[in-house]
Assembly symmetry: C2
Homo-oligomer: 147 residues x 2
């Protein structure tokens, strides 16, 4: 398995082990991890730090040229917010662990020319399935849906 | 002037006075401010805390039903990331200070049924004009554009 995707899963596992939503992400520029992170709704009470946002935040301030040559790895299909962040910063490629438990705004990404690769990785699916079974109300809150 | 919009401008002024990007935002539910904030790129080195995101973050965890009956006030037209956050949480109305210095994803908001009101307030325009003149490179970084 791609070592960067493996790192995104490790972030998802870490979040799950902390009682949090198991979504992890890594942003990579020229074979170097700029930042990695995971959903922080439970751990920090954050409503903006989805996995992808946390990875971007941990990467810190970067010039447009860096983002425009980076790849974002995420264990779950990106929601509208994370999709918007990808478009804002002009990230040209997104590798997605799975879109079975939640289908985000992949069409919007593609319509802006972003390359989208979906792996449908079983461990990503299992992590989300487990969390949603345990805490459906937290998951619905995270995606802005009535419980 | 609407007292909530006035509070959003106060947040923008505060950020400017701190040397930061002068964009402020307030989220209001049933005549009560849930959260307010401003761009934190300079103050916290944040790449995700645009004004709108900071207001949402400061509002803390809310149920979908709350967001779906809230109004977001922002001094500047929302970028793709902030637009995505508005869509994720189903906020039905956005009041925008101005869209002259930067036009965000207002069409995407409208296409999802979000009510968009643009005030073209002169103080909001002046704050942004001043900041962009002082620090164009920081502004371009904030919107993911090559300097």
């Amino acid at each position: 398995m791609d070592k960067y995707f493996e790192e995104a899963i490790a972030q998802a596992r870490k979040s799950f082990s902390e009682g949090g939503i198991p979504i992890g992400s890594v942003i990579v520029y020229q074979d170097k991890i700029l930042g990695k992170g995971h959903n922080k709704r439970i751990q920090q009470g954050s409503v903006v730090l989805h996995g992808e946002m946390d990875a971007l935040e941990n990467a810190g301030r970067q010039a447009a040229e860096i983002y425009q040559h980076s790849v974002l790895y995420t264990t779950l299909s990106p929601c509208p917010m994370c999709t918007g962040a990808i478009l804002l910063y002009g990230i040209p490629k997104v590798v997605i662990g799975e879109n079975k438990t939640f289908l985000g705004s992949e069409d919007l990404l593609k319509s802006h020319g972003v390359e989208v690769e979906v792996l449908n990785n079983q461990e990503c699916i299992d992590l989300m399935d487990s969390f949603i079974r345990l805490h459906p109300e937290i998951w619905f809150e995270d995606i802005g849906e009535p419980g």
